[in-house]
Symmetry: C2
Subunit: 242 residues, 2 copies
């Protein structure tokens, strides 16, 4: 059923991307497994991908704690973490081009099955954009690769702050020329929605229980009073009256 | 004929928007004429639109000369200029909503006849984005209104510098993750291309001799050594091998 009060006031939807729109884990494991076989490089790709994502939050926390060092874009954080992980995982024989190829794997992620059709429906009524910790080039290249029909790319990089810093949510509303309550944050992560809601944005939760594969520990269901809880992006479109 | 050396190196095309992609003058005159008749408000809309655009460069120059006052987005500059012009043109009876409607006229501009088809072709091979002095909300709303299929919205607002300041061209290349010579600036204005070329970007000129109506004084033809000179966006696509 359409929630008319929400659907008529909201003008723009901004989306978390990693996990919410694209399946980073399966994409990277499949990519590196095929590429490693072709390149003759052996590795525990599944373990490496999980450890790589494990380094994500700590690496952003370090940027947050050290503002004087300047903002580092996610491509840079990914590469620094990878340089350590290939040692930890004893993967040898990697050239500079190989490390670059792997880092750019985050630009080549595949969407969940409902992402493109759901976004295309939502775009007919709303401004749709990313609001991701991925840098602009990463999100732009991913959209070309995956066919994601964004109206605009909004990124932590534009605000030099990573989510859940308030500058990201409020900065997105400001660039869109909208009051925060005209913007809806869509995410598969309760903590992202909580930060957005505290700043006055509307919220929609879409569960992605396979995001972390067998290691998923949270976000199986909505844990806050979100404006919309949807099964997938097509269900979100239906609930927004599209 | 395709220029193979340029077309294979360039990865992204960034477009000037006012005059290059959209026909601001005819759009605004038609919009205000129809709206004024309906609202019962009389005015020299053609004169007002020309004077409004005349205030554009001086208003950005003022921002440039006074960095301590902070960056002002183009919507704000448009509104400030309009507040003066309605007095100069003795247009009376305008409410706050009317002034807002008129200012947002810049969000409702129509494309040149070749813009949407040409951009759609170019998008199949290149990342295509705006690189305009318009603010992000203006460019995003215009794209929805006019059906412009941008991959991303790049704006002076993101760099808090107006073109032709170097921060805009180099900032666009940086956000795209590309060296400047992998980015092509597309514009109907020779001065925009000159600034881009001096910073290492590739350049494409598309003449829009009707931009200023009977008052056009310059930019009838290419006046620099641009990488490509095209008749319209479909010709540009053909010359880039799309």
């Amino acid at each position: 059923m359409t929630d008319r009060s929400v659907s008529s006031d909201v003008k723009a939807l901004v989306f978390d991307v990693f996990g919410t729109v694209v399946d980073w884990r399966s994409s990277l494991i499949a990519d590196f497994t095929a590429w490693g076989a072709k390149r003759g490089i052996d590795g525990d790709w599944e373990g490496l991908v999980d450890a790589w994502r494990g380094a994500y939050v700590p690496s952003m926390d370090e940027v947050r704690r050290n503002p004087a060092r300047g903002y580092l874009a996610l491509d840079t954080l990914h590469r620094r973490a990878l340089d350590k992980l290939v040692v930890d995982f004893r993967i040898s024989g990697l050239s500079e081009d190989d490390l670059r190829y792997m880092t750019l794997g985050w630009h080549r992620l595949a969407p969940w099955p409902d992402s493109v059709s759901g976004l295309t429906r939502l775009k007919s009524k709303y401004v749709i954009g990313t609001l991701s910790n991925g840098n602009v080039a990463l999100l732009t290249n991913m959209a070309k690769h995956a066919g994601l029909p964004w109206d605009l790319i909004l990124s932590a990089e534009l605000f030099e702050h990573y989510k859940p810093d308030r500058e990201t949510y409020l900065g997105a509303a400001h660039l869109l020329g909208l009051e925060p309550d005209r913007v809806m944050m869509v995410a598969a992560h309760n903590n992202d929605l909580q930060a957005a809601q505290e700043l006055g944005l509307k919220t929609a939760f879409v569960a992605r229980p396979a995001e972390y594969g067998p290691h998923q520990k949270r976000d199986f269901k909505a844990e806050g009073n979100w404006d919309i809880v949807a099964g997938d992006f097509n269900d979100l479109a239906a609930k927004l009256g599209v």
